[in-house]
Amino acid sequence: MMQRRTLLASSAALLAVPRLGHAVTVGVTATELKIGNFMPYSGPASAYGVIGRGDAAFFKMVNDQGGVGGRQINFISYDDGYSPPRAVEQTRRLVEQDHVALLFHTLGTPSNSAIVRYTNQRRVPHLFLATGADKWGNYQDTPWTIGWQPSYRTEAQIYAKYMLEQKPNAKIALLYQNDDFGKDYVTGVKDVLGSRFDGMVTTASYEVTDPTVDSQVVSLRGSGADVMVTAATPKFAAQTIRKIHDIGWHPMHFLSNVSISIAAVMRPAGPERGIGIITSAYQKDITDATWANDPGMRSWREWMRKYLPEGDITDSGYATAFNASTTMLQVLKQCEGDFSRENIMRQVANLHDLEVPLLLPGIKVNTSPTNFHPIRQMQLQKWSGEHWERFGDVIEGANV
């Protein structure tokens, strides 16, 4: 088996050799640059579809302003229904039939996991994915793929840093979903605690098929912990918040920021039950009056008015789209007309202190050939019973 794999690998390498020499330019004509994307416009995750609509509207604005490098952007976005097999199908269609120059902002950890081998074998830039998995920062094994938002692992590092500062002798309980998403948090906490992890942390996992996590919460409380880290998706996060409150436990509670929606988590769990919960943010909250006169927010609102008049201005998906697309635009500008796939990747890894309109002040986009985690800073925020209130300085993830 091993032999066969080596054989396959070496023959793949042989095939790749002739292509190393000269730059490959695909999807670019004198007037046009094709960008491919898939999004869950239908199915269980269809709420994220607004992100794709936002990306498309952003590139429409770029085109109206004269395009980039003399080219108009042709943004092609298909529906994958949040289903990995369909993501593979749509990716092949984008790469082999539409001949796109690159893939941008494809959404979902499962869908991107299904295509990452393909994009890297075919050397198609696979950029600024809309998922928080840490593995997209693995520039050694998948050099054609890069994430965008702070990874779950970075987020966990930030929580661990803060908690050590506040409670150097904390006893930590860690509840995580037993998959890539949840395990990233375990790794992140380990990054910071190092050899002290085993002594300080009690973990419990749950499966997405579990009806409730009550039993896990009860076990974790039994460990005598005074800090709780919950790496859970919305339903289980709401259950955890409620159970912790109901059994009269009062740990310092950190909650993964995928589960901080007021409508989908805090309100169902009971807003008063979650008071004091700490989570993190890296984007400006578009519903927060603090930013009423912020220039970045104003440019965003103007764009929404002009290009997405029917869009919901309280949907943060449009903010995410605006931010990620701004990053993409910067890369294309830096290409200075050379849109070969190699040069695109060079510029992707060459972003320095880029300020993006809707990132929190102090948070900047940075990449390098050895850093494929564009955003590594976050600010903490606390639940007041009605909304999230930011506090303290911007914190950077650990260096690992």
Binding site: E207, D210, S219, R221
Partner: protein
Amino acid sequence: MQGLAHQLIAGIATGGIYASVALALVMIYQSTHHLNFAQGEMATFSTYIALTLIQAGLPYWVAFAATLVISFGIGVFTERILLRPMHNASVLANVGVFIGLLLVFRNAMGWMFEYTIKSFPSPFESDTPLLGGLVSGHELGSTAVTLVVLGLVFVFFRYTKLGLAMRAAAFNASSSKLVGIRVGWMLALGWGLAATIGAIAGMMIAPVVFLEPNMMLGILLYAFAGALLGGIDNPGGAVIGGFAVGVIENLGGAYLVGTELKLTLALVIIICVLLVKPSGLFGRVVQSRV
């Protein structure tokens, strides 16, 4: 030690959830000798109906009663429209219909009510935790409801003519026909009652796990394990089985196999029961002469 007590009680509380769904499964099996894989989705759908009625301003118990009536109607309607033509079809064809029904209900719910979780009110909510937070008012209340439903089912099958007729229709259709039982309607009635019990289960579960289209996905498997453990043709056994599975799952997950293998534990129970004692702990052993 306190940890053990907590786990035990949390187990009984989740067991109550499994028990109520197991009861609905047994109900269908009693009256049709089929297992309805769409049972969970139909119950979730009923729960959405209840939520819609409550949001429209109806008092909880009025919405509760109305939901039971509507669910009964949906159950009867489903049997008449979808299962009736499959009357003489093979078991596999029926399973196909059940799976199709599951998909239709689940996707329809996603379309109509969205996939985000919703909180569902409980009529037994108490603000002060009971027994130092060991149990909530809702857990006690819903366990009581499950037991009441069990009692009603028992009385219905044991002491009413209609219950007897339903049992007869499922047990031996042609003989029942000969003594004047309208077998087709008995089947439809069985579906209606199962849908009603499912609706009760859904409304008791939703306050605990939150309402979303996939609410019953995990629960149904544990409920199957419970129903099989107790005996698929014995309502009381199924309820005891449901509670047992809840406790076994919680204690096993916390102290024996770890939380990763909780679901596997349910599958192991199913396989063990089928291998060692297919009729379940309290089921009737059926011998057929070949």
